[in-house]
């Protein structure tokens, strides 16, 4: 398919647009008039560049592999859900469960993300330039969540090995989530993530790191009598 292909969702259906993108193996694409439709540009698996001009609905860029998806607007529930690789960028806000269960790739949200951002994260990186809502990184397993603003209640509840970097206030930490030291390796990793997300003028020293106390998911021999 030729480069710079345009799709207008006032002329074709979401299914037609998704199918054309899923069949493409390279190129850059624009999608106009999304008007909050669901499941847009899902299941891509090629190094495409896709720009969506407007607000999208649920599950945008779900299961993304390799592709770089840019949304000029807000996104609904389940943005980049189960992303495997590639990059998804939203210029506005994202609703609940952004990057839920995502295994790889980078999600950048310029605005706020609401509740459960990075729930059950399995290896992806998330950078939110605004705030995240309650229960973010719930049961998150591996990967990184960077928040330039504040985090809502119960951050990192029942967390496994995800690293949480928060610049602002944390309303409360969830069960088994604690503040941890920022060592050099964490400064280095955070710097790389901030650079990848285009966060200029933001210092890693402004952040605190949170992670698992490892008391909830590790078997403790002292408790053997309880079993």
């Amino acid at each position: 398919m030729a480069a710079n292909t345009s799709f207008d969702l006032e002329e074709i259906t979401v299914r037609q647009a998704n199918q054309a993108l899923q069949e493409a193996d390279a190129g850059s694409f624009t999608v106009a008039n999304p008007k909050g439709v669901h499941a847009l540009v899902c299941g891509l698996d090629a190094p495409l560049e896709v720009s969506i001009d407007g607000h999208v609905g649920y599950y945008c860029a779900g299961m993304n592999k390799q592709a770089e998806v840019n949304v000029d607007g807000n996104a609904g529930t389940g943005l980049a859900e189960n992303m495997m690789s590639g990059k998804v960028h939203v210029t506005g806000n994202a609703s609940q469960s952004a990057a839920a269960t995502a295994h790889g790739g980078l999600l950048v949200i310029d605005g706020n993300a609401s509740a459960r951002c990075g729930i059950s994260l399995k290896g992806a990186d998330i950078v939110v330039k605004g705030n995240v809502g309650h229960m973010s990184a719930f049961m998150a397993q591996t990967g990184n969540l960077v928040v330039l603003g504040d985090a809502g209640d119960a951050l990192g509840d029942s967390i496994y090995e995800v690293r949480l970097y928060v610049r602002g206030k944390v309303a409360s930490l969830g069960a088994d989530c604690i503040e941890k030291d920022m060592k050099q390796e964490h400064h280095d990793q955070l710097r790389a993530l901030l650079d990848a997300a285009g966060c200029e003028g933001v210092e890693t020293s402004e952040f605190k790191r949170y992670g698992s106390a490892r008391k909830l998911y590790s078997f403790n021999v002292d408790n053997v009598d309880a079993y």
Partner: protein, 297 residues
Amino acid sequence: MCGIVGLFLKNKELEPDLGRLTALMLKEMRDRGPDSAGFAVYGDEAEGTKITLLSKTDETDWNALAKALSKATGEDVDVKTVGNHALFTTPAEGLGARRWIIDNAPDVTVLAAGKSIELYKGIGDPDAVIEDYALAKRTGTHAIGHTRMATESAITTAGSHPFSTGEDTCLVHNGSLSNHNRLRDNLRRYGESFQTENDTEVAAGYLSWRVREGDTLDEALTRGLKDLDGFYTFAVGVRNGFAVLRDPIACKPAVIAENDDWVAMSSEFRAIAQLPDARQANIWEPEPSTIYAWSHN
């Protein structure tokens, strides 16, 4: 599931288009609630009280009921019928007239009473309900609509949203309440009357009770956060205003958009996308346990 829409106009010039815009939004929420639909429109203030009624039998003799109500209250009653609904207009005191009809007309459900509110609902395809009750032609200052996927009570016209139990107050709900039976019993003791087994009607009755006790809408909703147990995104209409509230867990969706001309809320952005200049509006997801309210002074 269920779909909710609410539209509150800030720009008076849009008032002739209130119904048309609300209809566009509600049609977009059809997939979220194909069982039934309903809407409340605030506009055309009456000198006395407007009472919207629903016939449970489709055979109600509205003129005879109006005559009986007129005799009981000593005031004239004007009658307009729309499908199986009727709109009574009377100088009589609204809540008294409402109560009289509930007590004396067992084949009728009182959908709403107030100076400004009119409320219509029906089962089946939301598009047909929108058409049958001419939503697109209605004018006014604000409107609330609902498409229902029934969970807590049967699919009936009376069990469709919005629910209104107090004067010019109405409520639509996405979610389900778990303490509605106990709460309904308590509210009956405080003098509220209920016409269905629906959980949302209890929430509407709760707000009416609190407002009657002297709470502002804001105070009533704040107290509701403690007393209403369950999942909810509510959109609430009052005579001169509009409010949105989500429960502390906020698992039921909601999005709000605002510009200089209007405030809109819906379960999903695609309903708001139907409005003029929606893309440039300030758009956000309402926080849990937070009351968002707008009113005309």
